[in-house]
Amino acid sequence: MRNNNVLGIVFSNMYDEVLPGLTAVRPMGSVPFAGRYRLIDFTLSNFVNSGISKVGIITRNNYQSLMDHIGSGKSWDLSRKNEGLYFLPPFTMSDELYAGRIASLIDIRPFFRNAREEYVILSDCHVAGNIDINNIIKEHISSGADITVACRHGFAPPLKDNLIMWMNAENRIIDIVLGQHPAGECDYGVGLYLMRKDLMVGMLEAAASRNQMNFDRDILLRHLGDVNIHGYRLPEHTSVISSLGSYFKANMALLNTNVLESLFDPQRPIYTKVRDAAPALYGLHASVSNSLVADGCFIEGRVHNSILFRDVRIARDAVVENSIVMQGSVICERTSLNYSVLDKDVVVKAGRVLSGAEDYPLFINKGTVV
C-alpha cells in the first residue's frame, strides 16, 4: 500500500527553443494547453496518479511563472510532509552548465543521495498525454530491462536531436540513431526514461568525468551493447510538441471527444492550479460549436473549432474559428480570427481580420494589442 518506489524528475526547460513565442516569457513546463492547463500538469499528474510522491523539478531560467503555477504542489497533492515537490534551481550560476541533461542531473546529486526511492523516472514537458507510469514500471521489471525509454510510433517530430530506435520482438532496443529524421514512420523517444537510481548515478558520473554530457548519445547509445535498454510504446493519444504547428494540432485534436476523453480520463485526473473564476456565460446571440470553453469566458459572438482559455471575451459579431485564445484575451466586435494562437491578455481591436494557415498558425505575443 505504500507509495511506489520511484523518484520523479521533471526537466521544465527542455525544448524551450521549439516554441520561441510561447517560451519567451515562460519555460516549456508552463506553456498553456487545453484551455486551463500548463504542460507540466500532465507530467506531474501522471506521476501522482501512478503513486510517485517525491518529484524534483529541474529549472534553468524563466521559472518565476512556473513557481507561481506550482506553488507548494498542493494542487497535485504533492504538498507532503516528508516528500512532495522540490524545486531544483541551478546551484551554480553558469548558463553553460545547464545545457545538457547530464550536467543538470550531476548538479542535483545530493537530491538523489537523500532519496530512499530505488528507481528514477526522468521526464520532459513537451508531451501531453495521460500515461499510466505503473505500466511502464511493470514492463521495466518484467522485461528485466536496465533502462526503459518511452517512445511513440509515427513520423518523428522535426527536432534536431531525435532519438530514433529499433526494437526486437521483445521490445529490447537493438539500434539507435540520433538526430536523423527518417523518411517513414519509426519509434522515437519522448524524453521519458526509467531506470534504477544507482545505475543512473553511476553512469552519469562515469560520463561526466569524461566530459560526455549528452544523455542520449553518451549514455544510451554508448551502452547499447552492455546494458538492456527497453522500449515502451506509449498509447496513441500522446502528443509531442515540437513546433507551433504541432502545438496547435495537439490542442485542436482535443475537439475530437475520443481524444478529449482519453486525455481527461476521470480515473486518472489531470490536476492543475485552481484559479477562481465564475462559470462561462453565453449571451443572447452566442453561437458556439465544436469548441472547448473554460470558466470565466463571456461569449456573445460566434466561435467554431476553437479553444478558449479562462476569462476570454468574445464580443458580438466577432467570429473566432480554428483558433486558440489564451487567458484574459478580448476579441472585440466585428473581428474575424482564423488559424491563430493568441497568448495571454491579447486584445484584438474591433473590425480586425487575422488569419494564419492550418499548418502555419499566426502567433500573437502576450499582452499585444492588435
Partner: protein, 400 residues
C-alpha cells in the same frame, strides 16, 4: 495558543432546509449547489475573508458529511490558517450527557468555549441561507461608531411584501425600538437579514440567561433579541443595499439562479475585487459539440453539450445529448440529459439522469391552470426512464 481576534464569525449551518424538500434529503441546506459552481455557503465564507474576518465557526448538525468535506481545511476560501481559519463545530457529548443544538442561540451557547479562546470584542452571527455580497467590516465599523450592543443588518423590501419578513422599526438614527415579526400592518419596510453583530460580553450574558430560561426556544429572533430590546440594550439597524436573496424554497432557489442570467440584476460573480470562492471540481473546460446551441446560459467545467440550452444554469460535469433541449432550468453537477429529452422549468439535482425522449416540467404558457404549475424537481441520483413524463411542480424522489 490562540491569539486574540477582534471579531469571530459564527455561521449557523445546521438547518435542515426542509422547504427545499428533495434537494436537502442528504445535504445540509448551506451545501446546496448554486450558480453553476458554488454552494450557498460559499457566499458567507467568501464575504468573511473578503471582509478581513479570518476566524469562522461553522455550526453543523443536519447531514454534515458533504458540507464537512466541502469546507475541509478551508483552503479554497483562504481560511486554512494556523490559529484562526474555519472550524466545523458539530454538537457533542460532555461528561453529563450531550445535547443537539436546540435553537440558533443554543448552538452559539454550546460553543462559548470556542469563541472565548479568541477573546473577541465582537461576534458576527451569520446563516447559510442567502446569496449576497456584503462587507461585514463596514457593519462592524458602524456597530463600533454607534457603541451598539447589537447591530442587525436590514434591507428595504417592497412595502407590499413587508408582511412576509421580520420587520425592524427604528428611530431616525437607526436605533431599533421594536421588532415586528411578519406584521399584518408593517410600520416600516426594513427587513432583518438574519445577520447580527454582537458585542461579545453582552451576547454571552444574554446567552447564559436565555439558557436558564426553561420557557425559551433558544432562538435569536424569538428569544435573545427581544430580551435584549426589553432590557434597553443599544440595538441598531445597519442598512444594506444590493443583491440579497433567500434561497430557502424551490422557487427562490430557481429564481436566484436565473438572476445570474439577467444582466440587469446586480450580482456579478466575475467581479475581481469581491470574489466568491468555491471548491473547484478540477475538470477540463466544457465542450460544445457541433450540434450544440447555447444561449443566455451559464455553463461550467467538464460539461459536454450537444443539444440545445437556453436560459439555463448548468453545473460541472453535466451532459446534454444531441437532440435534447434544456430551457429555463438548472442542471446540478453530473446531471445527464439523454437524447431527445426535454427539460423545462426544472431543477435536476446531482447525477440525476433524464432518459431518452423523457419530458420533465412544462412551460407556464403551456399550462392550463397556472396555480398548479411550478418548477419540477428531480432529486439527486434519480433515473427518469426513457419516455417518462414528469409534470411541472412534481418532486421526483425515486426512479421512474
Amino acid at each position: 495558543m490562540f491569539r486574540k481576534q477582534e471579531c469571530v464569525a459564527m455561521l449557523l449551518a445546521g438547518g435542515q432546509g426542509s422547504r427545499l424538500y428533495a434537494l436537502t434529503r442528504n445535504l445540509a441546506k448551506p451545501a446546496v449547489p448554486y450558480g453553476g459552481k458554488y454552494r450557498i455557503i460559499d457566499f458567507p465564507l467568501s464575504n468573511c475573508i473578503n471582509s478581513g474576518i479570518e476566524t469562522v465557526g461553522v455550526l453543523t448538525q443536519y447531514q454534515p458529511l458533504v458540507l464537512n468535506d466541502y469546507i475541509g481545511s478551508g483552503q479554497p476560501w483562504d481560511l486554512d490558517r494556523m490559529e484562526a481559519g474555519v472550524h466545523v463545530l458539530p454538537p457533542y457529548q460532555r461528561s453529563r450527557g450531550g445535547d443537539w443544538y436546540k435553537g440558533t442561540a443554543n448552538a452559539i451557547y454550546q460553543n462559548i468555549a470556542f469563541i472565548e479562546r479568541y477573546d473577541p470584542e465582537y461576534v458576527l452571527v451569520l446563516s447559510g441561507d442567502h446569496i449576497y455580497k456584503m462587507d461585514y467590516s463596514k457593519m462592524i465599523e458602524e456597530h463600533k461608531r454607534n457603541k451598539a450592543d447589537c447591530t442587525i443588518a436590514v434591507i428595504e423590501v417592497e412595502m407590499s411584501e413587508a408582511s412576509r419578513f421580520g420587520i425592524l422599526n427604528t428611530k431616525p438614527d437607526g436605533m431599533i425600538y421594536e421588532f415586528d415579526e411578519k406584521p399584518a400592518r408593517p410600520k416600516s419596510n426594513l427587513a432583518s437579514m438574519g445577520i447580527y453583530v454582537f458585542s461579545w460580553d453582552k451576547l454571552r450574558h444574554y446567552l447564559n440567561q436565555d439558557e436558564e430560561n426553561p420557557q425559551s426556544q433558544n432562538d435569536f429572533g424569538r428569544d435573545v433579541l427581544p430580551a435584549m430590546l426589553n432590557k434597553g440594550e443599544r440595538m441598531f439597524s445597519y442598512r444594506f443595499s444590493g443583491y440579497w436573496k433567500d434561497v430557502g424554497t424551490i422557487d427562490s432557489l430557481w429564481e436566484a439562479n436565473m438572476d445570474l442570467l439577467n444582466p440587469k440584476i446586480p450580482l456579478d460573480l466575475s467581479e475581481t475585487d469581491w470574489k466568491i470562492y468555491s471548491r473547484n471540481p478540477g475538470l477540463p473546460p466544457h465542450y460544445l459539440g457541433a450540434t450544440a446551441e447555447v444561449q443566455n446560459s451559464m455553463i461550467c467545467e467538464g460539461s459536454k453539450i450537444h443539444g440545445k440550452v437556453d436560459f439555463s444554469v448548468l453545473f460541472s460535469g453535466v451532459t446534454v445529448s444531441q437532440g435534447a433541449e434544456v430551457r429555463d432550468s438548472i442542471l446540478m453537477p453530473g446531471a445527464k440529459i439523454l437524447p431527445g429529452a426535454r427539460v423545462n422549468y426544472a431543477i435536476v439535482a446531482e447525477n440525476a439522469v433524464i432518459g431518452t425522449d423523457a419530458v420533465v416540467g412544462s412551460r407556464p404558457e403551456e399550462s392550463p391552470n397556472l396555480d398548479e404549475w411550478g418548477i419540477a424537481v428531480i432529486a439527486a441520483g434519480i433515473n427518469v426512464g426513457s419516455g417518462s413524463v414528469v409534470p411541472s411542480k412534481s418532486m421526483v424522489e425515486s426512479d421512474i
